[in-house]
Point group: C4
Chain length 207, copies 4
């Protein structure tokens, strides 16, 4: 399951580049043609970072699991389905970013899709922390459950980008970049049972 998911993330993050086209301008116009594609480069970088951070979070959860149940299998398929669509929302945004009218529509689509992703991911995390028995023994299950509120609050940033999309598509893209950077630097750690406690309980057993 984890190898399959890692494969999907690796493919999605790599085929993102198919969204950047070769400029049709020839001759000295090529510089101009390359320059005019800046929305594609910007959208590529932001989506690459978003998917990369998603993968890191996804990977972090799965290394703390010792088994997978059927609901998790399908919640995970849902997460992968949502991730796989990102190259398309990225293309739509990049194509329309400099169009006065359609830019905000494309930005709403792009931002709304991050909300969908956040919900799918929260659903997966909710299930894992609720059933508990999928975790490795060393995971502090109550602590993991307690992260759900913080996890959920953090996801509020995404609906806000939907609102921002109505005003400026370019600012929205910048906001997604900053949010991804924030999550890159501030992952919610999955709490482990602390060493001392384990030593204590081990010595308790020996008495």
């Amino acid at each position: 399951m984890e190898a399959f998911s890692d494969g999907v993330f690796a493919i999605v993050i790599t085929i993102l580049v198919l969204e950047i086209k070769v400029p049709e301008e020839k001759g000295s116009e090529l510089w101009h043609g390359l320059w005019e594609q800046w929305p594609h480069y910007a959208a590529y970088v932001v989506s690459f970072l978003i998917i990369g951070v998603m993968w890191v979070n996804h990977h972090t959860i799965f290394v703390h699991l010792k088994k997978v149940d059927r609901p998790l299998m399908f919640l995970n398929l849902l997460v992968l389905m949502v991730v796989s669509v990102i190259p398309w929302t990225t293309s739509v945004l990049a194509e329309n970013l400099t169009d006065a009218e359609s830019a905000s529509i494309a930005a709403v689509l792009y931002s709304a899709w991050t909300v969908v992703y956040a919900l799918a991911f929260l659903g997966l995390w909710w299930h894992v922390t609720r059933v508990g028995h999928l975790f490795h023994e060393r995971v502090d299950k109550d602590g993991a459950r307690a992260t759900r509120l913080r996890f959920g609050l953090g996801a509020v940033a995404y609906p806000l980008t939907v609102v921002l999309s109505l005003f400026s598509a370019t600012l929205t893209l910048a906001a997604h970049f900053l949010i991804a950077l924030y999550y890159a630097a501030n992952q919610i750690p999955i709490p482990l049972v602390v060493e001392e406690e384990r030593l204590e309980s081990a010595s308790d057993l020996r008495k």
Copy 2:
């Protein structure tokens, strides 16, 4: 073999998204353009679910095998070949779903291909259960063989969708969604030798 197959499934399920195009409409027409592509979104979701369930079934079989023989290797290549074509049948269906005349043709193609897949998969399962010695020791081989009838009966749903395709392409797509959901929730389990029996035979050996 299993890593290779998982790789193929992961790539097929991910390149499905290349079938959804960026609308050419600009300006305020973008909403309309996005809306008009609903057959692509619907076909994407259904095919993603179908391939995802296929992968889960495929994976379930392979984790119960301890070795691979040459016929299995080529039956497996056949299954992968059939799976790899699904992004194309999906595109053909999505392109034609709202066309009065060609919709049913595209739906017949899409449905017939699921029949081909079911046959290839049944062939693989038939071979594995017939030779028996490819299974891990803990698999109940007679029980596994007994699943073939139920497996085969379940596959009757696919030819029925070919018939349905002649009447309504949209209903056919919905039927495939429901069948995939059904298989997602009701996988035929591969029976294992029960614990008690193993304990008994173990104690028999000790006498």
Copy 3:
């Protein structure tokens, strides 16, 4: 190295399907459009089988190796480079198969490329059998070296398809299908040191 190579084979075999386009015909013309694409389906099946057999052979060699040296690393990159081009030679052949004049040109390209692949693969096998020390201990190195002639003779079939290409592109495609089927059924096995010999040499050591 092996995981990387398996990944490349899995991707090449999967993106082959991108060569089959969605017919542009709408309405009742769709059947006709689907039918007219038969060269694409035929070329897809043949190339899928060729790459599948290549992968099986490649995999068989690598599971008998215990380490990789630098020349092998680059001979392997060469093999992967040649394999990765097959989706393109497949497309060129499929696009031109029914054109009276260009069919033979495309068939020569397709067939010549299989010669290039056979040479690259022979080079890899030559290197592995010549240096010997990359094999696992249980491989019969002299026996492996002896397969080189048979391996090389088998490769004569490929230059013959180049000649056949000048006469009929369709027959050439059929010939490639048959050759791939032959190799699927008659792989040259990598000889292992037989059990008895190992037991003998082991008892010799004990004296």
Copy 4:
């Protein structure tokens, strides 16, 4: 992390071939059409070799690491982002290589991108050698640190290709081929603690 990176490298190196198009010429013009695409073949071979060598270097570093910290995770994402763009710079170069005016622009882009890659890779290597504790025990950390200068000096070849790009795009492509060949043959080895030292320190411990 390593499986994910290997997956990205495998996908990037394989989708390079999507950059080679099927010639539109039919009939006896096909030879001409195939011939006219030589810039695409040349660019394909050079980029395949460049990415292949990058992968070998990347792989060599990661097999010498025993763990990954957060900065390394994001430096690695940066390296993968830069690598993933190479199919696009390759396409731009191939499309423009025979255009009198735009060839040098495309060559500057292609060459500048190798500078970006070299910088990203140096950043990763700098971090790994600076913190030290990510290496396996058997790695000679001071020796690894000492390779940084040689590593950095080697990277000077890339800015020189940017200058060469202003004069001849074709020579630039040839230069990249030679540089990649050079790096293929002369990888900077990661020094290991020599056996003798380890034996000595082991015997010291026994006293």
